[in-house]
Structure formats: structure tokens, C-alpha cells
């Protein structure tokens, strides 16, 4: 850890975030996963996911120590079974409604289920995911409230529909502000402070310039979005804080993504593992962390949460938590 003693007496730290995974090993893991998933007709998927996350987390290093993923295939498989039960109940109800001639209300049933299920999936997958993540033995945690989250989600979603999608930038930021600010890193607390208006302006500019430059600007747009995610994030602990900053420029994003595309095309997709590794490595090495928190003082505060149902639901709905 680099230390700088500022004139005012504060000790400033700059812990490094690095990714140590190598494409070859990752490729081996993905390959065995693919094989076992195929042979078991998909039932190996939860275990495959656990293996993959374990490798990715253990390859990520903050201030000389690695992250850890504790989720297991068994937990996620149980979650998967529960998700299936919910789906079965839903389709069963729809079938029954059709049968007794109340088919007209099935769209409303679908809407109601989606309105319930999406916030539930976001909420409980965050709880599961963060509780199963640790660093130096200290667990992360998510302390959001499902009702509050549902309120924000449904309100924003309704506005997005009414404004024909324009509000989606505000919606994304509302959700981020809430979810990311409820994440705990042991006794440390994350804060995310974004503004929908700024994010909308960023996206509008990105969209127009990408259109005018026939797609070339998309790399800079991506860099802007990444910066907006990283730069508004901070960690607070006992009155001290860490600020995060993205140093990734549009030209660097262009280099990364163009080489990735070339690798994928010329290896018929086999370079997938190396592409993901390069991307991970790029994203992490372009985050600068600076502040006066003593990381070694973060204490264990978060409970364990082993119910992976939300995680599986989020997977099924293709919601990305991280």
C-alpha cells in the first residue's frame, strides 16, 4: 500500500485493485463447466457458476489480499428448484384461468407477477451475492429493504413507460443510488451518489455522437458510462472515506474492445476466456482508490445469508447484479 502523509496529518492510502486471473486456467474451468453442464443436461449449471465465480473472485486482489466467493452449487441448486416451483405455480395459475374462462385477466396476472418478481429478484440476489463475497475473511452485505426497493423500482418503471423510455436513465440511477448505497463492506459502507439528469445528458450525448460518427464514439460513450459508475462510488468507515476514480479513456476502451473482437472472430469464439480475462483486468486496473480508511480496521458485521433463490431468479430474468 502506498502511503502519503499530507500536511494536515491525514494518512492517505492508495490500495491497488488488480486482476490476477490467467486466460488458460479460466479456459480450463469454463471448458469443464461446459462439458459437465452438457452431460448433465444443464443441471450442473449452479455448480459451474460457483466454480467460475470462485475463480474470478480469488483472482481479484485488493491491497495485496484476494476476494473470496463462498456460494456453493448446492445453495444455488436449491434456489433454482424454488424458482422452478414459482414458475410452475405461475403457469399453472395461468392455465387454470384459461380453463375457467377468465383468460382476459392473464395479462394482468403476468404484469403483477413481473412487478413482484423483478424487485424480489434484485433484492434477494443482492443479499445472497454480497453475503457470499468476502475479503480478508470480512463479509460484504446488502441491507436494502425489499419494500423500499419495490417502491423505487415500480415508480421509476411506471415513469419510464409513461415517458416512452426517456426516464430510463433516471431509473437506472435511482436503482443504483439505492442498491449500491445499501452495500456494506464489513463495518464499511458504500455510497453511490448519481444524478439522473447527468446520466441522461451523458447517454444523450453518447447516443447522438455515436450515431453521427457511425459507431466510433461508442467507445468513448462506454468510457463515460464506466466513469459515471466508478467515480460516484465511495466507501465510508468511521468518518473516513475512500473515493474511487476511473482512469479508462475512450481510446483505451477502443483498443480493448477491438482486440477482443479480433480474438473472438479468429479463434471462432474459443478465445472467450482470454477476452473475459483481458476485460476484467482492464476494468480493475483502471480504478484508482484513494482515501484515509485503514482497511485493516474493517470489522465483521454482516450475517451470512444462504438463500440463493433470488440469485437464480435474477439469472433466469437475465438481470445483472454486478
Amino acid at each position: 500500500m502506498q502511503q502519503q502523509h499530507s500536511p494536515s496529518g491525514f494518512v492517505s492510502h492508495r490500495p491497488a485493485l488488480t486482476y490476477n486471473g490467467d486466460g488458460g486456467t479460466y479456459f480450463g474451468i469454463l471448458l469443464v463447466n461446459a462439458l459437465l453442464t452438457t452431460v448433465t443436461l444443464g443441471f450442473y449449471y449452479p455448480w459451474a457458476k460457483a466454480k467460475k465465480l470462485q475463480y474470478v473472485y480469488s483472482s481479484t486482489e485488493l491491497d495485496g489480499s484476494r476476494f473470496a466467493w463462498h456460494g456453493t452449487g448446492n445453495e444455488m441448486f436449491k434456489g433454482f428448484l424454488k424458482t422452478l416451483a414459482v414458475l410452475a405455480a405461475f403457469f399453472g395459475a395461468r392455465y387454470l384461468l384459461d380453463k375457467i374462462g377468465l383468460g382476459i385477466i392473464t395479462p394482468f396476472l403476468t404484469l403483477a407477477v413481473v412487478a413482484l418478481v423483478v424487485p424480489f429478484a434484485i433484492h434477494s440476489s443482492n443479499r445472497y451475492h454480497w453475503s457470499r463475497t468476502s475479503w480478508r475473511g470480512i463479509r460484504f452485505g446488502y441491507r436494502g429493504d425489499r419494500k423500499e426497493l419495490s417502491g423505487i423500482f415500480l415508480g421509476s418503471f411506471a415513469l419510464t413507460v409513461v415517458t416512452l423510455g426517456i426516464y430510463s436513465s433516471w431509473m437506472a440511477i435511482n436503482m443504483r443510488n439505492y442498491v449500491l448505497s445499501k452495500i456494506r463492506f464489513g463495518s464499511g459502507e458504500f455510497k453511490y451518489e448519481g444524478r439522473g439528469g447527468e446520466y441522461f445528458a451523458l447517454n444523450l450525448k453518447g447516443f447522438i455522437l455515436t450515431f453521427l460518427t457511425l459507431g466510433i464514439y461508442s467507445f468513448w460513450w462506454q468510457a463515460d458510462q464506466y466513469r459515471y459508475l466508478v467515480d460516484n462510488l465511495s466507501l465510508e468507515h468511521e468518518g473516513k472515506s475512500f473515493r474511487l476514480r476511473s482512469t479508462a479513456e475512450g481510446t483505451e476502451f477502443a483498443g480493448l474492445l477491438i482486440v477482443n473482437a479480433i480474438l473472438l472472430v479468429f479463434t471462432l469464439g474459443l478465445a472467450f476466456a482470454w477476452v473475459e480475462t483481458r476485460t476484467m483486468s482492464f476494468l480493475m486496473s483502471h480504478v484508482e482508490i484513494e482515501g484515509d480508511i485503514e482497511l485493516s480496521q474493517l470489522a465483521q458485521t454482516e450475517e451470512e445469508y444462504r438463500d440463493a433463490m433470488g440469485e437464480d431468479m435474477a439469472d433466469l430474468l437475465d438481470i445483472n447484479v454486478i
Binding site: 469443464v32 453442464t37 452438457t38 475473511g137 472467450f272 470489522a299
Partner: protein
């Protein structure tokens, strides 16, 4: 003694420790300023390990006096795994994590080899076995469904003549055969499963001899008796299932590539079917004592038709006519046959021609 870092799971403080490996346990001392040192002794039975690669591993102990150890010394990892493996099995993933790229690539070659073997040999074999067990009524139903969905026009008079023409020949087919003439400029003919044969007037016009028409019908009926369409459908279905299983794990780009490669492979399969239909068709002609040269003449007509559209063989559904002419010629040489007059067929053929000239 190996360097490691210990965390006690209460605060995120990192303690540098020196770890000793015994036969069935680990031992290290935690030294902290101003505190008496604490000795940890972990049995292999109370720990869980996570090997990231040959340069990083984590050992976790969830008992009262536990915590986790992170080690980046390759020497330690090698030695520890040597000891630990004797008490626990390490699993397929552990093996790969430990041996890295070489094993990954070796495994990939084997797996791809097995997958190819399964896809190109085992699957078609299974599909064939399935088809052999399917009742013929399945073909009939499939053919009827296809026919209904295509809804082709029918030249009633010509179709009747063609049916009479076909009735002059003995067919070795368990299906009842239906012959239909479809008005249209397309120079083509096809067979649907269950015995539905369609010939376009465009192709009829090009035929000069009754033997050519007999060869054409023999070829199409051979498709039906060999159940080529049903075989193709079963093969495609099984390979689609396998591909979709594999592709769920890879990007959309890979899926596009694999799907296209599979489509190309499907073409070579259909060429094999065509060749079989030619050969079986020749058998039919011999049995009916029809001049087998008719098949050769038919090929030559087809060659003339395809002159203007030259397709390389690897993307064509039919073998190149040149190849077909070669193996048909060889087949005639190997199996010369008796030839009869067939006056009835001759007259029916001319009636058909006269009809299409109008």
C-alpha cells in the same frame, strides 16, 4: 516453513505468518505487537481449500479457533497439495486449476474429439436406429402435413397419365405411391415422405425418352423407400438439441459459426442421400428391364440445366452431375441388365409430352 497471510475473520487485519506442513495438519504462530503469540494447529479434516492456480490458494477453517490463510508460494502449494491429496480427493476442477493451460488444452482436444465423434458418428447412427423403429404411418403423416402446407397446384390430366406410366413399373415400396404433375416452369421434381412424388412440367418438357422419366421416378421413389426425409429430420433434430446444449454456454458469435458449419455439414449428408437414391433407382430400373442408360441421359439433361448456375460441390445439395455421371456409368458397367420393349410406357410418355407441349 512457508510464508503466508492469516486473517482471523473478525477484522480485516493481515498477519504475516510462517506455516509448517505436517502429515495431517498445518501449524503457524500469530505474533502481534504487545500480545503473547498464539499458535494455530489446523487438522486437514477441519479445513476447506480453494486452489486458484499454482500461485495462489486459500485455506479456510471455520472452527472456533479458525480463520483463513492465503498463500502465494508455489512451493507451498505443491507440497501441501501432495500431502492433502492423500487424505482428500481434489476433483476435476482442482486438477485443472493446478496444472493450468496444458491440461486445459489437452482436455479441450479430447472433449472436442469426443463431441465430433458423437455428433458425426454416434448421433446419425442413433437417428437411423430411431427411424428404423418408427412406423411407416409416421412418414405418411409427415408427408401429408408437408403437402398441405405447400399446397401445390395439380395438373389433373397429366397426373393421371403419370400415375398410369408409373403403374407400368414394379415398385419395391411398402408405401402407396402418389404421382402428381405440378404446372410450373421450375425444372425440378421431389418426393415427400410417405410416397408423394411431384414432377414440375418444366422438367417434363426437357425429358426426351421414356427411360429418362422412368429414371427420374425411380430416383424419387428411392428417396421414399429409403426414408431419407425422415432420417434427415431426425438427424437435424438430434443435432439441434446437442448444439443448443453446447451453445448455451458460449457467445452468440460462436453459435452463429457452429450453426453455419452444421448447415454445411447437413449438405454433405443430403448429397449422400442423393447418391443412394441414384443407386437404388438403378436397381429399380434393372428389375423392370428398363434401359439404364436412361439414368445417364437424365443426368446429362440435368447437367445442361445446371450449366448456367455453377455451384461448388461443397455448398450443393446434390452431388455434381459430373460425379453422378461417373458413378452411374460404373454402376451400369458392373450390373448390365436385360432391356424390354415397354410399348405401353412409350405411348403413355408420348401422351404426356404432347400434353405438356400445348
Amino acid at each position: 516453513m512457508f510464508k503466508g497471510t492469516f486473517y482471523n475473520h473478525q477484522v480485516a487485519a493481515a498477519h504475516k505468518v510462517m506455516v509448517r506442513i505436517f502429515d495431517e495438519s498445518l501449524q503457524f504462530d500469530k505474533v502481534q505487537d504487545g500480545m503473547p503469540s498464539h499458535r494455530y494447529h489446523w487438522l486437514f479434516t477441519e479445513i476447506n481449500i480453494e486452489v486458484n492456480n499454482s500461485r495462489f490458494m486459500r485455506i479456510v477453517n471455520n472452527t472456533e479457533d479458525g480463520g483463513s490463510l492465503e498463500i502465494t508460494d508455489p512451493e507451498f502449494i505443491k507440497m501441501f497439495l501432495g500431502q492433502y491429496k492423500r487424505t482428500r480427493s481434489i476433483g476435476l476442477h482442482g486438477l485443472i486449476l493446478h496444472s493450468g493451460v496444458q491440461l486445459g488444452i489437452a482436455a479441450m482436444v479430447i472433449i472436442i474429439g469426443l463431441a465430433l465423434l458423437a455428433h458425426f458418428i454416434v448421433l446419425p447412427w442413433c437417428a437411423d436406429k430411431v427411424v428404423d423403429r418408427l412406423p411407416r404411418s409416421f412418414d405418411k403423416e409427415l408427408g401429408m402435413t408437408a403437402m398441405r402446407s405447400m399446397n401445390e397446384d395439380k395438373d389433373t390430366v397429366a397426373s393421371e397419365l403419370l400415375t398410369k406410366f408409373a403403374a407400368q413399373m414394379q415398385w419395391d415400396s411398402p408405401d402407396s405411391l402418389t404421382f402428381t404433375v405440378v404446372p410450373g416452369d421450375i425444372e425440378n421434381a421431389y418426393a415427400l415422405p410417405g410416397g408423394y412424388i411431384f414432377v414440375y412440367t418444366g422438367l417434363l418438357e426437357k425429358l426426351q425418352q421414356k427411360e429418362e422419366l422412368a429414371a427420374l421416378l425411380s430416383h424419387e421413389v428411392a428417396h421414399v423407400t429409403c426414408r431419407h426425409s425422415v432420417r434427415g429430420v431426425c438427424r437435424d433434430m438430434s443435432s439441434a438439441v446437442v448444439l443448443s446444449l453446447i451453445l448455451t454456454n458460449s457467445g452468440s458469435l460462436t453459435s452463429a459459426l457452429v450453426t453455419n458449419a452444421n448447415a454445411l455439414y447437413g449438405l454433405t449428408y443430403s448429397r449422400k442421400y442423393e447418391e443412394q437414391a441414384d443407386i437404388v433407382g438403378m436397381q429399380t430400373m434393372r428389375r423392370n428391364h428398363i434401359d439404364q442408360q436412361g439414368m445417364l441421359q437424365l443426368m446429362e439433361i440435368l447437367q445442361k440445366l445446371s450449366k448456367d448456375t455453377r455451384v461448388p460441390e461443397f455448398i450443393s445439395t446434390h452431388p455434381l452431375t459430373k460425379n453422378r455421371i461417373n458413378y452411374v456409368r460404373n454402376d451400369i458397367k458392373e450390373h448390365p441388365g436385360k432391356v424390354n420393349e415397354h410399348a405401353q410406357m412409350e405411348s403413355l410418355f408420348h401422351q404426356l409430352k404432347a400434353l405438356s407441349k400445348k
